[in-house]
Each structure stands twice: as C-alpha cells, then as structure tokens.
Point group: C2
Chain length 147, copies 2
C-alpha cells in the first residue's frame, strides 16, 4: 500500500528503527563535510568540552533521514519538503552509539490551492541507547492526495 495524505493520522508515532554511528562513518562524513577537530582529531577532541570525538550534527541528521526514508517516506506519496524548523542536537553522538529514530505526525492540512496535495507537520526524534535525545527536528512535508 502506498500511503497518501488521507492515510496519515495526526498523533501517530512511526518507529523507523535505529542506526549505529560507527567510528568509521562518523570519520568519513566529517572528513568530507565537517572537518572540525571535535569530529576528526581524537587528541584535540579529548581536550575539548566534549571529552572525545563526537559526530557532526549533519551526520546524525542525515543518518536519521535514511531511516525515515526506508521506514516512512518510501511508501508515502512524498513530494518534498519546505525545510526544517528547530533542528537541535541535544546530546553528542559518540562512536558506537546506537540511535533509534521516530517520527510523530503533529498536524495535517489540505492545500487550499492545489487538489493533489496536503501538508504534514511532523516531529523527528532520535535517542541514544541510554534514552537521551540526541537529535530533534520539526518539518513540514508535502504529501500527495488520492486521485
């Protein structure tokens, strides 16, 4: 079944699984996209306020996105997004952490100008294995309606 705007339930929480933030992937992502010492230099990171290497927040968000695609958007008529509000990295992600991700539907509104779509506001949360929230964002996605 392909999920359309009509099928989306306000208040539903979709568990989309977890990923392991491996040292290798934290490192390769940061080397290309965010080579700050706290992400790529173990010695310097150990002396920082973070007391060791932490993942780039952009890596954590991107790896969470992968789970959202596999576990929600791939079987939804998804037409993109306007962007994200309030992207927060509340607790650092460290090598070996396992991050569990869920999406909660906050609200949905039919488009007033286009019959083929609606707007779905959702909240994404990722928690580490100790139950601490490591990433949070709120976004509005454009979702297709049934023909």
């Amino acid at each position: 079944m392909t999920r359309t705007f009509e099928d989306i339930e306000v208040g539903a929480v979709h568990d989309v699984g977890s990923f392991e933030a491996t040292e290798a992937e934290i490192g390769s992502f940061a080397e290309r996209f965010d080579p700050q010492p706290i992400h790529v230099d173990p010695a310097s990171a150990a002396e920082s306020m973070y007391d060791g290497l932490i993942a780039s927040g952009w890596y954590t968000a991107s790896a969470s996105m992968r789970l959202l695609v596999d576990g929600f958007f791939s079987d939804t008529v998804s037409m993109g997004s306007f962007g994200v509000e309030e992207l927060r990295w509340r607790t650092p992600v460290r090598p070996g952490d396992v991050v569990s991700v869920e999406l909660e539907v906050l609200d949905k509104t039919e488009s007033s100008s286009r019959e083929d779509r609606g707007y779905v506001e959702n909240e994404v949360r990722g928690h580490n294995e100790d139950g601490e929230e490591v990433v949070y964002w709120r976004a509005t996605n454009i979702i297709g309606r049934r023909e």
Copy 2:
C-alpha cells in the same frame, strides 16, 4: 590569527566560497542517506514535479557546512552549536550547479554564566549560479572568548 568572540563583528558577511554539486556526489550521498526517487532515480525524477534529479537538502546543507568550516570556523574558537532554526531549501539544486555560500553575523551575546564563551547568531545563505537562493539557515554558535 584565531578569531574569538571579541573579533566577531555583527553585520559582517563572510564569503566562504563555492562548491559544485556533482552528479556523482549528489548520487552517492543520496544512496546512503536519502534514497528517495527524486534523488536517485533519473526516470522517476523526470516525471516528478521537479522535472529531473535534485540533490538531497541534507547534501546541500552538509556541502555548505564544509565551506563554513574551511572559510570561517577553522580559524575561530568554535565550541559547537545548539542547532539550527529555519533550515530552508528554497530552490532545488541540480547536478552541475555551483553553490556560493556566505555567513552573516546577526547578533552576539556574552554568556552570563560562563566567562569563557559567547553566543553568536548567524545566517547562512547559498545561491546557485543564477543567483537563486538554494539553502538558508539560521544558527547559534558557541564561540570562545579571549583568556
């Protein structure tokens, strides 16, 4: 010179250069982190409202971050960030687009509780070669003060 909180000028605009969103990198990023058809499947993307492949917004943000690190944060006493507000993907990025990125300092405030740091609010904007804004975000960064 290492830039500290004191050196940061409200209103200053820092041009941090540009990156090319190559088809290869758009594809490899999306295969791992955002494998939606509009990012990885040329035939399906051609039939979508985007009329062809577009980059994942997470790729555009991450590639912009790299320029911000090289052109600003690497010579700044950067102590991380609380997160991002209002991350927007206003115009799709397509293979071959060249995105120029700038950071504008909006405001700065000394920490009232910790003498070693201050908070800098900034705005990041990326434009394609036609001058269209493709990515925008506002963030607050924690910046070290001089000893």
